[in-house]
Amino acid sequence: MSKPQRLTYPTAMVLQALDRGLRHGFDIIDVTGVRSGTVYPLLRRLEEAGLVRAHWEDVEIARRESRPPRKYYELTDRSQPLLQTARERFPALASVPRGGEVGDSA
């Protein structure tokens, strides 16, 4: 929990994507192009470090849209310093689009 988070490029991308309002693992994969086998462990690691908070969406919503319920992730306040460092270290992050731009395809 208190272990310092290693800041790799994929970590930075995932942080940036979450900050831009993307909320599920698969959205982040689509937008960042980082592979699923990297994104999910990253999200879990960030969650353990307390930088990301996760919750399950209401089953009723999923039922109405005829799909399985999704797990939503969002940044906590504690992630801000790391996000700042990430932006300074990887200026290319600015190209990660906003949540609204990819659209919810369900």
Partner: protein, 914 residues
């Protein structure tokens, strides 16, 4: 627990899927795979893990329009699930324990280098073969086009008048689809053409693509250098002669020179300005057609004498492909019904359009013409199953070897169990060992895969897609596949032995008598593994036998002409400003020059070369014959020069062949084939009968002067009615592309230079295309058979080798286990032959069982490969008898040597030892 799982399932499964039973099955299947993988995840995290990945699977599937095929990419994406699960597993475990296990395994493998290397080589071959074939599948079917949002793209086709839904379109068709459709943001058209490119050196023919100005903007491709084509380049009556080079051409022909931008290349004699270079990795949107350059479609009017009609004629269907980008929010089904209603509108406006429909499909990795596409998919499935079977054999073999090793370690494991080691802990350790083996195997396997891909690069897929032209490389996706495979393999072959050797009653093994029960159980498991291995090996052997037989049949197939002594070369006279009369003179001069060479027996020419899969289609009316209701009077035809039949060695059954006097101005004549003669003049003499070249009977009268023996137009097709017209009487149709054919008494290879020199001496600026011997052309047709039989027989030989290892391992093990028993038998006067029989039986019974299962499995499986077989039934008796026979003989030999060791046992010594 069980109840909560059921509840969780019912909460997710029933309401997640759109109507239709198939998708339900496919997603449910994916769900099952996830559940399997979830066993890697620690129990506490498992339910949540499954739910999250299920949402991922469902999303990915929905992304591509919820079609069955998109499940493949959903599965590929879920490979990540294995990594995620492993990560969780390792995360929640004591890391020092894992390190300890790895170190322990490493030490014990280092002590048995022989065992370790056999296992690693076996696995490397299995994993390597799978990696190689998967990278092929990936390049052909899975990898998305390197363009912006490829999932929005759709391929649009116009149907043929009859038959295939996937035919070419005309330019007015394209314009209508583009302007009337409401579901696409834009539609672009492209058509490939072989064009003559002249830079500094010799003129060469390169495949180029004519594309509409919106092609690159629609795809969203960015140039590597300069700019790409834009709508302003493609103005109908004022085309810009701008040209974009492919990255590969820029690299290989022009050495990546930046100065190419702004320079001039002559295409069919017209100067074009190079404006840019396409990005690396962009190879157009068709698998079989990688263009060397792109030019605006409207420049077609410059090349073609009747360029105007190309752009206006609804009947001239020269547009090879149309690609569209769906508007956001428009589903594939909506786009399809939109296009269908356009085809209905067009039919109402123009009754002559004869009800062609418009088909649209989501663009896959790389667009394939549909029929070839289906063949390629089938071939890929075949290859994947073959290498998967080979990997399973490797797994069974390695599991067998591990069992042998485990039985040697039973004492050690028994002691550890007795001292209170947890069974789970021991199993984890044993599986860690096997995963470590498979990981090393996978590393070596990557090397094997690279060698295999190099070996395969000489082959071609169905539809003449050469493997060398594919962009094959081991990228992250493929390495992820290999890693997943390695872990799965390790667990698969490691778990069995681990479960076997750690059964609690193994504690007995500490007792003096050495745990006979445990040994017998291991023996039984080894027997089963051997059966599985033999069964799979037999399927591969039968498969390779069938492929080899069909390759041989293909090579011996009588196509109706003599291929061994023939060579051909093509010239496109129309592209070089030849007129009909100069073209006639050129063909006459060339024929004379080639014929003058010593060793050349016959020279002729034809528009369609042999094995061109038919010719041009015509509707005809036969004088004195009323066609029945719905009878198709469409016939394929070729234009040939004098001496054609003698050159190819085709027999004239009646009348005469095409001769020199059938020239321009002479009465119109034709030679027909036997099938045509039998169809319209059965039991009559067709000589002197007449027919006309129009469906309404208006065309000029053509007299039949000869009947030629049937020849094959492709390799598998049955002969169809066919007409040969004299080329000189129809030069207006013929001179766009003419193939010169020459026959020799000697080697056809020598003819190649004769043909090339002949053309060069008459017109140095005219390139010779398709220059090859007919044997070579023939070989191209047999590529899938050649590739299949090479791959299958290589794997077949390897699996037989593995079977030898397996069988001698099993017999050797049982000899060691039963030393006392053998000693008693020998002491009581048992003959060595008797002992030999007893020992060999232990292996031969599993072999017999495996062979039985294998034959049944082969019967069930081989029928899926019928598309690639010539004249071989999938249940070919010769193959089905000889393959099991071969295996049994090999099994006998493999069992004999270790069994003989048993007869050499000294009875007193054996009884004295424990």
């Amino acid at each position: 627990m069980r109840q909560s799982r059921a509840a969780e399932r019912s909460a997710i499964l029933p309401n997640m899927i759109s109507p239709g039973a198939r998708p339900l099955r496919t997603v449910a299947f994916g769900y099952r795979i996830l559940r399997l993988i979830s066993f890697l995840v620690p129990v506490r995290a498992r339910p949540e893990w499954i739910r999250e990945w299920h949402a991922e699977l469902f999303y990915t599937w929905g992304l591509e329009g919820r079609r069955r095929r998109s499940m493949i990419s959903a599965y590929v994406r879920c490979f990540g699930a294995v990594e995620d699960a492993l990560w969780l597993r390792i995360q929640r475990r004591d890391r020092s324990m894992l390190l300890h296990d790895l170190r322990y395994a490493g030490r014990s493998f280092a002590r048995n280098p022989g065992f370790t290397s056999v296992v690693i080589i076996t696995l490397a071959l299995g994993i390597g073969a799978n990696t190689a074939i998967f990278s092929l599948v990936d390049a052909v079917l899975l990898r998305p086009l390197p363009v912006a949002s490829p999932s929005e793209l759709m391929d649009v086709w116009t149907s043929c008048r009859r038959g295939s839904a996937y035919c070419t379109s005309s330019y007015p068709d394209y314009v209508d689809y583009r302007d009337r459709s409401r579901s696409f943001s834009d539609l672009a058209a492209f058509s490939s053409a072989s064009l003559i490119v002249t830079d500094k050196g010799d003129p060469t023919v390169l495949s180029g693509a004519l594309v509409t100005g919106n092609y690159f903007p629609l795809l969203g491709v960015r140039p590597a250098l300069g700019r790409l084509l834009v709508p302003n380049d493609d103005v109908l009556h004022d085309p810009q002669t701008a040209l974009v080079l492919s990255h590969r051409t820029w690299d290989s022909r022009f050495g990546r020179s930046v100065e190419m931008i702004g320079s001039t290349l002559r295409i069919n004699g017209t100067p074009f300005t190079v404006v840019g270079v396409a990005p690396d990795g962009f190879r157009g949107t068709r698998l079989a057609e990688e263009p060397a350059f792109w030019i605006p479609m409207s420049t077609m009017t410059i090349f073609s004498n009747d360029g105007g009609t190309l752009l206006d004629g609804r009947g001239i269907r020269w547009i090879g492909g149309i690609i569209g980008r769906r508007l956001p929010g428009v589903s594939i089904e909506q786009a399809q019904s939109d296009l269908l209603s356009i085809s209905q509108q067009l039919d109402e406006e123009d009754p002559n359009r004869s009800g062609r429909i418009i088909t649209a499909e989501a663009t896959r990795a790389i667009t394939l013409p549909a029929e070839t596409g289906a063949d390629i998919v089938r071939f890929m499935v075949l290859l994947m199953s073959v290498v998967a079977a080979a990997l399973l054999i490797a797994c069974a073999n390695v599991a067998n070897l591990l069992l042998a090793r485990a039985s040697a370690r039973r004492r050690e494991i028994g002691i550890r169990l007795a001292l209170g080691a947890g069974r789970k802990r021991l199993i984890t350790q044993l599986v860690t060992e096997s995963v470590m083996l498979s990981a090393v195997g996978a590393l070596v396997g990557i090397g094997v895969a690279m060698l295999a891909l190099r070996a395969l690069s000489g082959f071609a897929l169905p539809g003449f897609v050469t493997i060398a032209s594919l962009d094959l490389h081991l990228d992250a996706r493929i390495l992820a596949f290999t890693a997943t495979l390695a872990v799965a393999t390790g667990v698969l072959f490691g778990l069995f032995p681990a479960l076997q050797t750690t059964t609690p009653d193994l504690v007995k093994s500490l007792k003096a008598q050495g745990g006979q029960a445990g040994a017998r159980r291991i023996m039984r498991t080894r027997g089963w593994l051997l059966s599985v291995q033999i069964a799979l090996a037999l399927v591969l052997l039968v498969g390779s036998g069938l492929f080899l037989r069909s390759l041989r049949n293909g090579l011996n197939l009588d196509v109706g002409f003599e291929a061994r002594s023939l060579a051909m070369g093509g010239v496109s006279l129309a592209r070089r400003q030849y007129t009909e009369s100069t073209a006639r003179q050129f063909v006459r001069d060339l024929t004379g020059r080639v014929a003058a060479h010593p060793g050349v027996r016959h020279v002729s020419s034809a528009v369609f070369p042999p094995l061109a899969r038919g010719g041009a289609g015509f509707f005809i009316t036969v004088d004195g014959y009323t066609s029945g209701q719905g009878e198709e009077m469409r016939i394929e035809a070729n234009w040939v020069a004098a001496d054609y039949f003698a050159t190819l060695g085709i027999q004239i059954m009646d009348g005469r062949g095409i001769a020199t006097e059938d020239r321009e101005g002479a009465p119109l004549v034709a030679v027909i084939n036997e099938t045509m003669a039998n169809r319209w003049w059965p039991a009559q003499n067709p000589m002197g009968r007449t027919f006309r070249q129009q469906a309404d009977g208006s065309g000029a009268e053509i007299t039949i002067v000869g009947v030629a023996q049937d020849v094959k137009q492709g390799l598998t097709e049955d002969p169809e009615p066919f007409i040969y017209y004299p080329m000189m009487q129809h030069m207006e149709r013929a001179y766009s592309q003419i193939h010169i054919l020459a026959a020799t008494d000697g080697s056809a290879d020598n003819l190649l230079s004769v043909l090339r020199e002949g053309v060069r001496s008459l017109d140095p600026s005219l390139p010779v295309e398709d220059l090859q011997t007919l044997d070579n052309r023939f070989a191209e047709y047999l590529m899938p058979q050649r590739m299949g039989s090479t791959l299958l027989s290589t794997l077949g030989a390897l699996t037989v080798l593995l079977a030898v290892v397996g069988i001698s391992g099993v017999v050797g093990y049982s000899v060691n286990q039963r030393r006392r028993e053998i000693g008693i038998r020998l002491a009581l006067g048992g003959s060595s032959r008797h002992v030999l029989g007893v020992m060999a039986r232990g292996a031969l019974i599993p072999v017999a069982v495996g062979a039985g299962i294998g034959v049944l499995a082969a019967v069930a499986v081989t029928r899926f490969a019928t598309t690639f077989m010539y004249d071989v039934a999938p249940t070919d008796p010769l193959t089905f008898v000889s393959a099991p026979l071969l295996l049994v003989v090999v099994a006998l030999i493999a069992a004999y040597f270790p069994a003989r060791r048993a007869t050499k046992i000294n009875a007193t010594e054996a009884l004295r030892t424990e």
